[in-house]
Amino acid sequence: MSETLARTPLYALHVELGGRIVPFAGWEMPVQYTGIIDEHMAVRKTAGLFDVSHMGEARVRGRDAAAFLDGIMTNDMATIRVGMARYTVMCQPDGGCVDDLIVYRLADTEFLICLNASNAQKDIAWMRSLVGNLQVEIIDECSAWAQLAIQGPAAEQILSEVTTLPLATIKRFGFLTGEVAGAAGCIVSRTGYTGSPGFEIYLPAASAEKVARALLAAGKPHGLVPAGLGARDSLRLEAHYPLYGHEISERISPIQAGLGWTVKFTKPAFVGREALHRQAEGGPSSSVILFSLEDRRIARQGAAVFAGQTQVGEVLSGTLSPVLNKPIGTALVAAGFADSRELTVDIRGLRLPLHIAVAPFVK
């Protein structure tokens, strides 16, 4: 089966910068430029610039927009203040995840939602199917926006050199709208997917290359490097942020994934509430753990997790943590084993002890 892969507005720039292009979620994206570990450490120590234009966007607006979102999202939506964003999950009736998203409140009756690339069209169709009699409009803006993420301790300094927006006034999960590197209509939020400080910038697709070049030039003296999807994955895993299709999916609920804090049972009704409530009360049948290994071998997605000779789970994500310099990962394990000190993971026939982490490996 062949499919046509989409390119972001920065495709030519990635090639020019020596990015290695791979297919990802229907897009041709750079997995790395110089190397995953170098790019990862740049984000932890200086800064990295990521093209995340493959992410989708949908605008939800209308008199009932907040009520509509409260009915389909697990987190509180009506209480988001204008100028703030909130992380949430959107669930199926059985509690499985349709997607995880960030919802930006642009105005009382207007929201911009950031969608995972692989789920964007599914999400938009899902939301539209649930509108019912509410007065709300869902607009597909996936191709209108590009997205850049500038992440790392130097990110704020670098960004401040190409915008007059008062970045220091932006709180975590807050945002401002304005001009960046001469491009009008950008949304700048203090958000990210790396576990390091930084910003995400939503910008009109036509301005993407100009803004990216301006950031790379301003950032060079501060150690900014272009960073690819490989580093994005190892950074998010160190910070224990879920990736759809791995730690959360249609078969892994937010309760199982340890995202219970995003599920607000104080809301009287939302899609998935009953199923999630049963899981939260009775304990889910399985849950996601974060682990490290004392070895050099990486336990990758699908590797079997054992307690004694019994398989009790499987690996969901695995990589080498450049900060710890050892393998880390996540696994879905059966109820009763989430605190176990006896688990092992099978790597090509070898059983290695798996150490469950109680907190993310950064911060």
Partner: protein, 126 residues
């Protein structure tokens, strides 16, 4: 462009072989292979004395992205394995033809050497 030294022989699986006059050979992976793998994090090599047939898996090289088998280019017996790769697997990225040699072997069937690619033949498949 990948570096393909003229004095080595190659396989289509991206191993290189340096044949010595005394009936031994040194085996590693090519510059093209290390670039395709990305940052190498672990190399699993055989023990001295182990024997492999042509095309047998003799080890594993693992990068952040994937684990890949290493295939024996020839029938051989292992005389030495490069212990430096235990502590510095990144040598594979930095010195694929030098410090990152993987095994030294005794060649069991010299006739098999003729099936290996020369530098021009290997360059043609990259």
């Amino acid at each position: 462009m990948s570096n393909v030294p003229a004095d080595l022989r190659y396989t289509k699986d991206h191993e290189w072989v340096k044949v010595a006059a005394d009936g031994t050979a040194t085996i590693g992976i090519t510059d093209h292979a290390q670039a395709a793998l990305g940052d190498v994090t672990f190399v699993d090599l055989p023990k001295i004395g182990q024997s492999f047939g042509h095309g047998d898996v003799f080890g594993t090289v693992e990068s952040v992205k994937a684990a890949s088998d290493l295939y024996s280019p020839i029938s051989c017996e292992v005389l030495a394995a490069n212990g430096d790769l235990n502590n510095s697997p990144d040598l594979v990225n930095r010195e694929p033809y030098g410090g990152a040699w993987m095994i030294k072997v005794k060649v069991k069937n010299a006739a098999e050497l003729a099936s290996l690619l020369d530098a021009a033949g290997y360059s043609a498949i990259l």
